[in-house]
């Protein structure tokens, strides 16, 4: 049986997502079985690029209006500067021929990395599974994470 790696992706920023997917791809390339658990702001990474999510209740509506997701909408964790910093980072990555977040996500999927969305965050924030990209394998809770992490050699919280 191959070794397991779990990544809890809590953050919804582009740079942190890049790190998470780089580690996931690296681990998969080393023959490890990788599961990524997306929770809280990390759910923005696996949301579709469409508009705000339809949800019930004024607070959820407000939250989902402001907290739109999609891999292209994620800010930088530092020097975002209303998008200018992110644009520059994207340019630097392009010049360095470094893969974009979308490319890394596709590569991770191709390498067999599993994507799981946290059901609790989804429930609180009023996000349904339809809001996510089809690559998301399942919706699960902390027990699923812990069962995987217990067998894991590498477990990270990003």
């Amino acid at each position: 049986m191959s070794e397991k790696v779990t990544l809890v992706v809590f953050s919804g920023e582009m740079d942190k997502a890049l790190s998470a997917f780089s580690i996931a791809i690296g681990a998969a390339s080393m023959g490890m079985e990788v599961t990524m658990f997306f929770t809280f702001w990390g759910l923005n990474i696996i949301k579709k690029k469409e508009g705000p999510i339809k949800s019930r209740g004024i607070m959820r509506k407000m939250l989902n209006f402001m907290n739109r997701g999609g891999s292209k909408r994620l800010p930088l964790s530092r020097f975002h500067m209303l998008g200018l910093g992110k644009w520059m980072m994207g340019k630097l990555m392009q010049d360095a021929k470094s893969p974009s977040l979308d490319e890394l996500m596709a590569t991770a999927r191709g390498a067999g990395v599993k994507f799981i969305a946290c059901s609790t965050s989804m429930g609180i924030m009023g996000i349904s599974k339809e809001a996510f990209i089809p690559e998301v394998d399942s919706v699960a809770g902390v027990a699923t994470y812990l069962a995987e992490a217990k067998e894991g050699k590498v477990n990270l919280f990003i």
């Binding site: 791809i25 390339s29 080393m30 023959g31 360095a96 021929k97 590569t107």
Partner: protein, 76 residues
Amino acid sequence: MKADATLDCIGLYCPMPIFHTANKLKELEVGQVLEILADDEGIKVDMPAWCRATGNELLDIEEEAGAYRVYIRKTK
């Protein structure tokens, strides 16, 4: 060193060289040698680490003019 296949990873940053190496090695037979060309400095320590983790044999790393030639023998 004579290689059975060559993989060009010039210009690629981590984790892409090891990702492509893992994929390319799947195409080779056990005992065959893969040559990897790369210019990301991390490769010097990443390739030995990748080989330790996967059990493949690192034969040599040659450095010339800021680029590296890595030779790996597929062992399983």
